[in-house]
């Protein structure tokens, strides 16, 4: 099998805009799921609301497309009620970090056996480009027309602080690394959080001086700073650039977890 066998083909074509990175992230995730050898019958995809959350609708397994921000609470119910089911959650920066922030913190704390893939495009794409908790300071959106003046969230640091067993960040450029990270997350008991930075040409790129889709992917590539390199820079007293974000495996541990099938 390949990742293509996991698609609900009668639902295609999808609703994503030309140049959107979400498809890349879905492919990476399904490749990882496929490599795990999971049964379709026993795999469930759960999501909230937003562009990211439309993903389960295109996947052939049982899937639960829920309310805005609440995917992790629904997924907690599914997983605790039947730990034999493998549960993967697709979410986005607005869904997870704004309206769903409290559920995110507590799912990490419970360290419940889910794998969460967050498509972070730093904007509300579905509603037309409003600022989100991960919109970088200074960036333009329809609700930050003079540039965002709020500091943005580091979702991986949040997941680590709240207790997740596995935390990694990559981008839509780093497809092989992303796929491996998702697979490591699927393979780790407890809460696994994989953040995938991705381009939104329609609503982020065009308002923030990225003329081509490739320009934004190029930006993600250029500003992704490997964790090992970042640690080395700090060790040597070098300044880490303000606009860089750390990528790589940021946490792997074995805290007590909930919902793990015995």
């Amino acid at each position: 099998m390949t990742f293509e066998d996991w698609f609900r083909t009668d639902r295609l074509p999808h609703i994503y805009c030309a140049g959107c990175g979400n498809g890349t992230i879905i492919n990476c995730t399904l490749s990882a799921v496929d490599q795990m050898g999971w049964e379709k019958e026993k795999t469930v995809f759960v999501s909230g609301i937003g562009c990211s959350s439309r993903a389960p609708g295109y996947i052939v397994t049982d899937s639960l497309h829920t309310t805005h921000g609440r995917a992790l609470a629904f997924a907690t119910g599914v997983k605790l009620a039947d730990p034999a089911l493998r549960v993967v959650v697709f979410t986005g920066d607005g869904d997870l970090a704004a309206i769903g922030g409290n559920h995110f913190i507590h799912a990490c704390r419970r360290n419940i056996d889910l794998t969460v893939v967050c498509m972070n495009n730093q904007i509300y794409g579905m509603t037309g480009g409003q600022g989100s908790p991960t919109t970088p300071m200074g960036c333009l959106s329809t609700t930050t027309p003079y540039g965002s003046d709020e500091p943005s969230f580091d979702l991986c640091e949040l997941a680590i602080a709240a207790g997740a067993n596995y935390v990694a960040r990559w981008t839509s450029y780093h497809v092989k690394e992303l796929e491996k990270a998702v697979k490591a997350g699927l393979d780790t008991p407890g809460f696994s959080f994989v953040e995938a930075m991705t381009q939104c040409p329609t609503n982020f790129g065009r308002r923030n001086k990225f003329k081509q889709v490739a320009d934004q992917v190029e930006y993600l590539k250029a500003h992704a700073l490997l964790k090992a390199k970042r640690d080395r820079m700090i060790g040597q007293g070098e300044k880490v650039p303000d606009d860089a974000f750390v990528v790589g495996e940021l946490m792997r541990r074995n805290r007590p977890a909930m919902g793990v099938k015995e």
Binding site: R8, R11, K40, E41, K42, V44, V46, P56, G57, V60, T61, D62, S63, L64, H65, T66, T67, R70, A73, F74, A75, T76, G77, V78, K79, L80, A81, D82, A84, L85, N102, H103, I105, H106
Partner: protein, 366 residues
């Protein structure tokens, strides 16, 4: 065989749920419902069930909806403020036709109001609280015995009609202690599983689709978006939306007579009380004190869908009296169905009506 117990209403509620096969509770502590959660926390882990205290009531109902899709009978319990928080996901349960039971031990509102005092102020919220049109089932117990029996019944109704079912109790019934006969066994009607080859949201003749339990190979897509019979989003087709919403309403409203649970006492009376929940107790006392058969009583256990046909049993009625622990929420519903005067008898603050108060109302309208 039955055994006699002396239980609190909230304990009886939890025990009724367990007897009905409830094996998942997700919730958040709130007065005056907390004893339901506490009892489930003690019992469920020993019965191969799951108790989980969620981070808020929004998560509580989300968790039971998720659990329900794995085929388990699932419940939450709350009171006013938590009930308000649940509203969006109650609409999600209605739209996705997810069986679940929501217990509301009502307290005085609005807002934080009176955490330890009884009210019936959420009777319209349970019917209309989430956005959009849909229909639900609401049951109102008036005794510890009924806390047990109606909670158990709520699970059968939820599975039968695939809707959220509300146990709309109040602080008085939830916290009172009285004798209860506990049956050995509670009859359970299992959820109707989706047959192979049938679409997951394709209704049967009763307008209720078979249930596509997760993990059984159905590959069902469940969404709160307007969806077709495959479960696929279809949110801009007016015909699909209209047909879906009408079905969600009709599957419950068409079954009004089958769902209705009530007692008719003295149907030839000219003066008739209609009550549900704790005020039933005061009306019963009035009837006990005036055993002349001159006072009629429609005593409702089902409030939604409203059993309007039951009112017609009182063909001689010249006036209906509706004592409620709110400003007349169900009195207004009754007015829609009768030609004669409806006298709303609101009681706010947490106390029950006294028998003399109800007798005074009868005198005033003689």
């Amino acid at each position: 065989m039955t055994k006699l117990e002396f239980w609190q209403g909230n304990t009886a509620c939890a025990e009724g749920a367990l007897a009905a096969g409830c094996r998942f509770f997700g919730g958040y502590p709130i007065t005056p419902s907390t004893e339901v959660a506490e009892h489930m926390a003690v019992k469920l882990p020993k019965m191969n069930g799951v108790f989980v205290q969620m981070e808020d009531e929004i998560a509580g109902i989300a968790a039971i909806i998720g659990a329900s899709w794995t085929g388990v009978r699932a419940m939450t319990a709350t009171s006013g403020p938590g009930f308000s928080l649940m509203m969006e996901n109650i609409g999600y349960a209605a739209m996705t036709e997810t069986p679940c039971v929501i217990v509301n031990i009502q307290r005085g509102g609005p807002s934080t109001g009176q955490p330890t005092m009884a009210a019936q102020g959420d009777m319209l919220q349970c019917r209309f609280g989430s956005h959009g049109d849909y229909s639900v089932i609401a049951l109102c117990p008036a005794s510890v015995q009924e806390m047990y029996e109606l909670t158990a019944k709520a699970f059968d109704l939820a599975d039968r009609y695939r809707v959220p079912v509300f146990l709309m109790a109040d602080e008085i019934v939830g916290h009172m202690r009285e004798r209860i006969r506990v049956p050995d066994k509670v009859g359970q009607t299992p959820r109707r599983e989706l047959e192979k080859g049938v679409l997951p949201f394709q209704p049967d003749a009763d307008l209720v689709p078979g249930f596509a339990t997760f993990g059984k190979g159905h590959g069902v897509h469940v969404t709160g978006l307007t969806h077709d019979e495959r479960g696929y989003p279809c949110a801009t087709n007016p015909g699909v939306h209209a047909a879906l919403v009408r079905r969600l309403v009709d599957k419950v409203e068409n079954a009004r007579a089958a769902i209705a649970d009530y007692d008719i006492i003295n149907p030839d009376a000219e003066q008739v009380f209609i009550a549900y929940g704790a005020p039933v107790r005061t009306v019963q006392q009035v009837l006990h004190d005036r055993p002349d058969g001159m006072i009629g009583f429609l005593r409702l256990r089902t409030v939604w869908p409203f059993p309007e046909h039951a009112i017609r049993a009182f063909s001689q009625a010249k006036v209906f009296f509706v004592p409620e622990l709110n400003m007349g929420q169900i009195a207004r519903e009754i007015e829609r169905h009768v030609e004669v005067p409806v006298v709303s008898l609101p009681k706010l603050g947490g106390d029950l009506h006294t028998p003399p108060e109800l007798l005074a109302a009868l005198e005033a309208h003689r």
